[in-house]
């Protein structure tokens, strides 16, 4: 897991003050993130209409391992619930949360805008439109063996971000974050309008489209996990590899160019990677809001602003946050489920206001 960041030891010969000033991933925060994620996943697996004890969960988990497998007998019904419903759902939640939080941090770094997230730049609206088109006009079809829904989501998200990018550049230039946010809002509004029109005019699929837009982690088996995993692995890996360069971008395009770094290239690659992953998870899990804002900003407030810290910790805490939000979504109105996007927005909206106030709109 070298990609998660070097838990550096002091270099010999360099003064202590210098090393203190260099950003590094604090190992205790990384360990805390790992533990919180593990605990939230265990909690997520335990919660459900059928009571399953922690002991049973552990037995089910070790059962496939040859040496441990024979030690205890496991109820096949409970094993089936865990393997085909709860565990894939929790794993999917962790993947979606990790991707959205990482993509949010990446967008903020690439655009040097603390208020940027996939949703504000129109990627989610684009994915919504793409997936709605796919669900409505090509239900259940696949292209080269891949389900067409995430593909359509990806295309929609890429078109939205590219549109916001181009519009922001033509209006005020990419250094002006206000122009970028307004461009994202305009593109999102446009895409949402088309999406709503299609949804209203093709009422056969309205339930499926609605359920998908509101955000949910309902999954039977591992299909959803396997569908998003390649996109997320590539997206997250590319973003993690750009941590140093995202820090460098923070000094501005001109200055970073004078250091021999192509700001345009870094921004393009990071945006493509973040959009790829976001599109895939939005297509599977719907429009889950605010994860990309709340998690990176919380990490910034608590640990530090360097992307070498923000990105790996956003990945861990984003995964944990979404698993907990999904658990809450299942518990709040049990046996019914509250859409997970509602839970993240209830926590996220007030937080978003605090972030805007604390930045004193300087970024605008």
């Amino acid at each position: 897991m070298q990609i998660l960041g070097r838990l550096s030891r002091p270099a010999q010969g360099a003064p202590v003050a210098l090393l203190q000033g260099l950003p590094r991933l604090p190992w205790w925060w990384a360990a805390a993130g790992g533990l919180v994620l593990l605990a939230s996943m265990v909690l997520g697996v335990l919660v459900g209409p059928v009571h399953i004890s922690l002991g049973t969960v552990l037995q089910v988990l070790v059962a496939p391992i040859p040496w441990f497998g024979g030690l205890a007998s496991v109820d096949p019904g409970q094993a089936s619930i865990l393997w085909s419903l709860r565990i894939p759902r929790v794993v999917l939640g962790a993947i979606v949360g990790a991707m959205l939080a990482t993509a949010g941090a990446a967008y903020q770094g690439a655009f040097r805008n603390p208020l940027a997230d996939p949703y504000l730049l129109g990627a989610a609206a684009g994915a919504n439109l793409g997936a709605t088109l796919a669900i409505t006009f090509a239900p259940g079809s696949s292209l080269i063996g891949v389900n067409v829904v995430p593909l359509a989501g990806f295309v929609g998200a890429a078109a939205a971000v590219a549109g916001a990018y181009a519009l922001g550049q033509t209006v005020t230039g990419l250094r002006n974050t206000t122009g970028l946010i307004l461009a994202g809002v305009a593109i999102a509004a446009f895409f949402n309008a088309i999406q709503t029109y299609i949804q209203q005019s093709q009422t056969n699929n309205i339930r499926q489209v609605y359920s998908w837009i509101l955000g949910r982690l309902v999954t039977a088996g591992w299909e959803g996990v396997l569908l998003v995993l390649p996109y997320v692995v590539i997206g997250v890996a590319v973003i993690l590899l750009h941590r140093r360069l995202l820090d460098a971008l923070s000094i501005g395009d001109d200055e970073v160019t004078s250091l021999g770094i192509s700001a345009r290239r870094v921004r393009l690659i990071v945006v493509i990677a973040a959009t790829l992953g976001t599109a895939a998870v939005v297509a599977i899990a719907g429009t889950i809001a605010f994860v990309g804002i709340i998690v990176p900003h919380t990490v910034r407030l608590l640990v530090g602003r360097s992307y070498r810290v923000v990105i790996p910790l956003s990945l861990l805490f984003g995964a944990a946050f979404l698993v907990l939000a999904d658990t809450a979504a299942r518990m709040v109105a049990a046996p019914a489920e509250v859409p997970i996007g509602v839970i993240t927005a209830i926590v996220g909206a007030p937080f978003f206001i605090i972030v805007m106030r604390s930045t004193r709109a300087a970024a605008l």
């Binding site: 210098l18 203190q20 004078s258 250091l259 021999g260 192509s262 360097s306």
Partner: protein
């Protein structure tokens, strides 16, 4: 091999020509001050050498055309200190200065022990060692200027471009910064090209001065040759007295209109 040559350089923003037909040569280890009234194109010329603006004509560094170099290669040869460098809130001095090592790292590369040693040496040299872990937004104006110079020095480039190095500094800090650049030039043989609005400081620190007016080079030579009362009256529309300092050094002192009339009467 650190000389900089500009031949027939023309720079335009859309249809507005900012610099026209500029020919200028700066020898290795020389300090050239670009002077001129506001809007003369001083900053634009520095930005063209650093390839931050498009230009026509030819700019060479060490005998090689800037246009043919990769971004990293250029950044290993030319470092630039901006007039108002952007200093991200919360970034530490050492992280900021470490960014100067970027031209020496691969795209996905990481800073190693050698980079840490280079940065540590520069921080010590610029008296920033004790504040390496401090956030940039907690620095004074003089310390910020030193941090910006430190970042440029971390590039270990033989050519240093400096845009208005003393703006917004008090007289003591102005002297500190220019003495620092001068001593680094002496130690490391840096070629320094600085846009300077303070003619006295330009006249004392630069080996040569290039006077630009509306994007055209009107005079180039030693401070003694360029910084004359008639030239400054013509091009800056300012009444000044020019005093000789330390051989070829010059101090330019603005004088009030009334005194200017009297001074003019006294001239032979």
């Amino acid at each position: 091999m650190n000389d900089v040559v500009l031949r027939g350089v023309r720079i335009a923003y859309e249809s507005e020509v900012v610099v026209s037909e500029l020919d200028l040569g700066i020898s290795s280890g020389e300090w050239l001050a670009l002077i001129g009234p506001n809007g003369a194109g001083k900053t634009t010329i520095l930005r063209a050498i650093a390839r931050l603006v498009a230009y026509q004509g030819e700019i060479q560094v060490g005998g090689q055309a800037v246009a043919e170099m990769s971004g990293r290669e250029l950044a290993r040869r030319v470092a630039m200190v901006m007039q108002e460098p952007h200093m991200p809130e919360g970034m530490s001095v050492s992280q900021y200065v470490m960014l100067g090592r970027s031209p020496h790292l691969a795209y996905f590369g990481k800073e190693g022990h050698r980079d840490q040693r280079v940065v540590a040496d520069i921080l010590e040299r610029l008296s920033l060692g004790r504040m390496a872990a401090r956030a940039l937004d907690h620095l004074s104006g003089g310390e910020r200027q030193r941090a910006a110079i430190a970042r440029a020095l971390a590039q270990q480039a033989p050519v240093l471009l400096v845009d208005e190095p003393t703006s917004s500094l008090d007289v003591g800090r102005q002297q500190d910064v220019l003495e620092l650049i001068d001593s680094l030039r002496a130690e490391q043989g840096l070629t320094v090209i600085a846009a300077m609005h303070d003619l006295t400081l330009a006249g004392q620190y630069a080996d040569r001065v290039a006077l630009l007016v509306a994007g055209k080079l009107v005079a180039a030579g030693t401070p003694a040759e360029v910084l004359t009362e008639p030239a400054i009256a013509d091009h800056y529309r300012a009444q000044v007295r020019v005093l000789q300092m330390n051989g070829s050094g010059r101090a330019v002192i603005p004088i009030r209109g009334h005194d200017a009339a009297q001074a003019k009467n006294r001239l032979p």
